[in-house]
């Protein structure tokens, strides 16, 4: 499939407004402003566009839920917090194709009756924020953002807000809290943001990639978009391939593409690095179950990956070869989760840290066999009992690695050390001693 969202990302100057206008930029916005908001929502619904932030929720439906009759202002919040391990697609879009995102934001605002869109960008993306601010100023000067856009009387502004560096700020209600100047901790749902979101006003939170798909849907039509992928999984999709592949990077393709192709096809990952074999892959960022080499002949679509018992999530494929110690991998991920837990609810706050301590114990070589059952029990006690989905995400690496690689854990415990050629140890001073 010809790239659509990332077609010009390698083009020098491709991020500029001039260039974007040259290749038909803001035509989607122009066309949408000639439509009623309901028509825009309908087209997006027909296209079957599903949220690219992780859950794959239909975007048109999300916009439809926004309470349009409310007398309060409505808001679009673009979720640019991209902090899921192994995920780096929104980064590319924002840095190399910022106007596509602005256009998507503006169309979304028109669709739900909002006058303001906030782009909540990850704290560490300082350089990306610079690009966005620069290009936003240009768009504003060109009358594409602000008052009376394109002379149609449509007023809409976009603001970029940089977070303080918390993974949890990517959860949509935590993002809203953070945007309001509070700690990035999630809210109880219901009420959902569509009813009471930012400043208690109806709000739609959409991922960067999701919004970037909108202009194409408006210009080319719902059908053209849906046709690009399998049923209910239409449109172009960005995949972040990282780990032990020859060509790590961001690739845009249709969701017909299989996981195996993404890893092995020279157009994409290009296969496993020199002389090694694939051990497993986490297909959707770090928060989803691992898949084994024999499970890869499935379309890398929301439904395809789900059918194999995992999730497409943020479409970050973390590829691991046979040198990777799964105990270490789980420990590494749990370090992330215990560090990023917002601490609001008990099971995640206390349990995440406990899981990490248990994994460190096994890592150090002090593990006991009963620790495995304890790990499973603690992880299961977190899963499904937390306030937000973070808890399930934190439990998953433990549950999935023990389920799939229990023997490896047992060997680890029996031997009191890692049984794998552990090249990563050298870079890990605490463990290098063992």
């Amino acid at each position: 499939m010809e790239p659509i969202l990332t077609k010009y990302v390698k083009q020098p100057g491709g991020a500029s407004l001039d260039f974007y206008m040259k290749v038909g930029g803001y035509e989607g916005l122009r066309k949408s402003l000639g439509m009623t908001p309901d028509q825009v929502v309908d087209v997006v619904k027909q296209s079957g566009l599903r949220g690219r932030g992780g859950a794959g929720f239909p975007t048109g439906m999300k916009w439809q839920f926004v309470d349009k009759k409310s007398p309060k202002p409505k808001y679009i919040c673009c979720n640019a917090d991209e902090s899921e391990p192994g995920t780096f697609k929104d980064h590319v879009l924002m840095e190399r194709n910022p106007h596509l995102l602005f256009e998507g934001c503006l169309i979304a605002c028109h669709a739900i009756g909002a006058k303001v869109a906030y782009i909540y960008i990850r704290g560490e993306f300082y350089h990306v924020q610079q690009v966005l601010e620069r290009e936003l100023a240009k768009a504003r000067a060109a009358g594409l953002v602000g008052k009376n856009i394109m002379g149609t009387g449509f007023d809409c502004d976009i603001f970029v807000h940089r977070g303080a560096g918390a993974y949890e700020a990517g959860e949509e209600t935590a993002l809203i809290e953070s945007l309001e100047g509070k700690k990035a901790q999630p809210r109880l749902k219901p009420p959902f943001p569509a009813v009471a979101g930012l400043y208690d006003c109806p709000t739609a939170v959409n991922n960067v990639e999701t919004l970037c798909n909108v202009p194409f849907i408006i210009t080319e039509g719902a059908e053209a978009f849906a046709k690009l992928g399998p049923e209910k999984n239409g449109g172009p999709k960005l995949y972040c391939i990282s780990g032990h592949v020859k060509n790590p990077g961001v690739y845009e393709t249709s969701m017909h593409t299989t996981l195996r192709e993404l890893i092995y096809d020279p157009k994409f990952g290009g296969g496993i690095r020199g002389g090694h074999q694939l051990k497993c892959v986490i297909p959707g960022g770090s928060s989803v179950p691992v898949l084994l080499p024999e499970q890869l002949d499935i379309p890398a679509s929301f439904d395809g990956v789900a059918s194999a018992g995992s999730m497409l999530g943020s479409a970050g494929l973390i590829v691991m070869d046979e040198t990777t110690c799964m105990v270490w991998a789980a420990q590494n991920l749990l370090y992330f989760y215990k560090h990023e837990s917002c601490g609001k609810c008990t099971p995640c706050r206390e349990g995440g840290d406990w899981l990490h301590k248990l994994l460190m114990k096994i890592e150090r070589g002090d593990g006991e066999m009963r620790d495995l059952d304890l790990l499973l029990s603690v992880a299961n006690n977190i899963a499904g009992k937390t306030l937000c989905a973070f808890g399930d995400a934190a439990a998953t690496p433990v549950l999935t690695t023990i389920k799939t690689f229990r023997a490896e854990y047992e060997a680890h415990i029996r031997e009191g050390r890692c049984t794998l050629p552990a090249s990563w140890r050298a870079s890990h001073p605490v463990l290098a001693a063992h």
Binding site: K344, D353, N381
Partner: protein, 586 residues
């Protein structure tokens, strides 16, 4: 009232629409534990111990945050729910220091109580616990002028955070850091400075927040008795519980040890202010007047009463006597004064007016008038204002003009609540007042200037009634006995009534109230006065039920007729049906 009906553990329950499942469970007498939920605060849904199974919902749901729906089917006690709940309890204790033996909350701690009832038998956590600032009691840090904070014990329920934000109106408490390192803190570690700070000890479900006033002073089992009463330190009239500590065997007697608020939706909700909570030390302090005095010397009651009569005669009769009465005088006292007031030179009311520094949008406003009964005085027919600063200028000019030969001051305390009295002292010294009679509770410059000093009772030493700023007629109960020869103020006044030209004879304060109810029969607020009952010390058996006021309502509603497990019948064997079921969770 719109209602919804749902099924809880097989029983149909009908509740007001909008109530949460947890509230429905509590209302129907069911058992579901909770920490972050507090009936006086907004819902947070963070502690996760209130999880229940709701049919048609895939995951277990937190009952505190789920509104009741028509036809909902709720299970609170299936093995699935019990195991899940137990797992949350395990998490809550993973980093908790379990220093119950030295913790002030021990014995009245919801974390203890619920962990016993719902938690797993033992912890599987074998790692070192997270600690802040050293171990155990040393982890206590200053948390403002009234509080101490022990972050090791904190379970991060955020009740304190929400209290400051929602009720106090000044969100001084927040959480710094995140995840397992989250800790309760204030800006630049300045601590909480608020006139409502004491409530934080009540809302805290563990021993993380303690008051400097009460910490280390007593344990729940040392306070065998508690008395439901009201606070009379200002015109609000908060409902409270006064706690009495048993002194050690050799010392005999009891001691007022703390005051905590008691739920009254109309007046104080679940809260009270720090003035009412902490300003009680004067009651059993060194400055109490224990005996009658004449010219600075101790005398007997008989001699003192006779000398009052002599003094009135000496100035030429009751018409030359004026009364200066504190807004703290009870209805009973005022009613007696009212009966002879016409024979005297007049009655003037005085009180202290202090604007309390509070955030503008606080939900709990502490009034400026420090007088519990001005509305009562008005209702009894006295000519007095009921708000603002006391106007005593007429009395002052009369004194200045030498027209007040005898001044009778009634001041049932506490210190300073009579307002300015320097001018009285000066007038007595200058001889403008010939005789100064003071009926009071605390030695002060005023009592030192008095010719005759009569020892009265503080509000916790007598059954007396007061009409608060919103017209609620409430009783303050006798909690402790009066010191020395101090006598209830209404009795002193009725003994002296004959001196002022009427002969009032009531057998008890209750009889006075019956008479008041008759006199004010037209006013519906006073309808219940004749039959007003006063709480008496509740027995040791129910101390926990009267425990921490923020949990108190729980004992009132949730565990009705079910004494908590520690209260087996006088520590003898307890019938199983009588206790919170303690279940072994696999």
């Amino acid at each position: 009232m719109e209602t919804v009906t749902l099924t809880i553990d097989g029983k149909p329950v009908t509740v007001e629409k909008g109530k949460s499942v947890l509230e429905a469970v509590i209302q129907s007498g069911g058992h579901v534990p909770y920490y972050c939920y507090h009936p006086g605060l907004g819902v947070d849904g963070s502690c996760r111990v209130c999880i229940v199974k709701i049919e048609k919902m895939p995951k277990l749901q937190t009952s505190c945050s789920t509104p009741c729906g028509e036809g909902m089917v709720v299970t609170t006690n299936s093995p699935e729910v019990e195991a899940a709940r137990a797992s949350v309890f395990e998490f809550l204790l993973v980093n908790h220091p379990l220093d119950c033996p030295v913790c002030d909350k021990g014995g009245e701690c919801p974390l203890q109580d619920f962990s016993y009832s719902y938690g797993p038998e033992r912890s599987r956590m074998a790692f070192e616990r997270r600690t802040f600032d050293g171990e155990g009691v040393k982890a206590d840090i200053d948390f403002g002028p009234t509080l101490m904070l022990n972050r090791n014990r904190c379970i991060l329920c955020t009740r304190c955070v929400r209290f400051m934000k929602e009720v106090d109106g000044d969100a001084q408490i927040g959480i710094t850091n995140r995840g397992v390192h989250s800790e309760i803190s204030t800006f630049e570690e300045k601590g909480v400075v608020s006139l409502l700070s004491g409530n934080l000890m009540d809302v805290c479900p563990v021993g993380a927040l303690t008051t400097r006033d009460y910490r280390f002073k007593s344990r729940p089992w040392d306070n065998p008795n508690a008395v439901d009463t009201i606070c009379t330190l200002c015109e609000k009239g908060c409902n409270t519980t006064a706690w009495i500590k048993a002194k050690p065997e050799w010392a005999k007697g009891t001691q007022l040890i703390r005051t905590t608020p008691r739920l009254n939706e109309d007046i104080n909700s679940y809260w009270m202010c720090d003035i009412g909570r902490f300003d009680y030390h004067w009651i059993e302090g060194d400055r109490r007047i224990n005996q009658a005095h004449m010219n600075g010397n101790v005398t007997s009651w008989e001699d003192a009463l006779v000398s009052v009569k002599d003094a009135v005669d000496a100035v030429g009769g009751a018409t030359h006597a004026q009364f200066l009465v504190s807004g703290h005088a009870s209805l009973e006292e005022l009613f007696i004064i009212k009966q002879f007031a016409g024979n005297t030179g007049g009655v003037t009311f005085s009180w202290r007016h202090r604007v309390k520094p509070q955030p503008a949008d606080t939900k709990f406003k502490i009034p400026a008038v420090d007088a519990p009964n001005l509305h009562g005085a008005k209702d009894l027919g006295f000519n007095t204002a009921t708000s603002g600063v006391a106007n005593i200028s007429a009395l002052q000019s009369a004194v200045d003009a030498g027209m007040v030969k005898l001044l009778y001051v009634l001041d049932p305390g506490p210190d300073g609540t009579l307002g300015d009295v320097e001018w009285v002292i000066a007038a007595r010294k200058a001889g403008k007042i010939k005789t100064l009679i003071v009926q009071a509770v605390l030695h002060s410059a005023l009592t030192a200037a008095a010719d005759i000093l009569l020892p009265g009772c503080a509000f916790v030493e007598k059954d007396a009634t007061y009409t608060n700023m919103t017209g609620h007629v409430q009783g303050a109960a006798r909690v402790i006995t009066a010191p020395g020869e101090a006598v209830e103020d209404w009795q002193i006044l009725s003994k002296l009534s004959v001196v002022f030209g009427v002969n009032v004879t009531y057998s008890s304060s209750a009889a006075v109230r019956v008479a008041i109810a008759q006199a004010l029969g037209a006013n519906p607020a006073y309808a219940g006065l004749a039959t007003m009952t006063f709480s008496r010390p509740m027995s040791a058996k129910s101390w926990l039920q009267a425990s921490n006021p923020s949990e108190r309502w729980k004992w009132d509603f949730m565990f009705q007729d079910l004494p908590p497990i520690k209260f087996g019948d006088d520590f003898g064997p307890t019938p199983r049906a009588n206790v919170i079921p303690m279940k072994e969770v696999k």
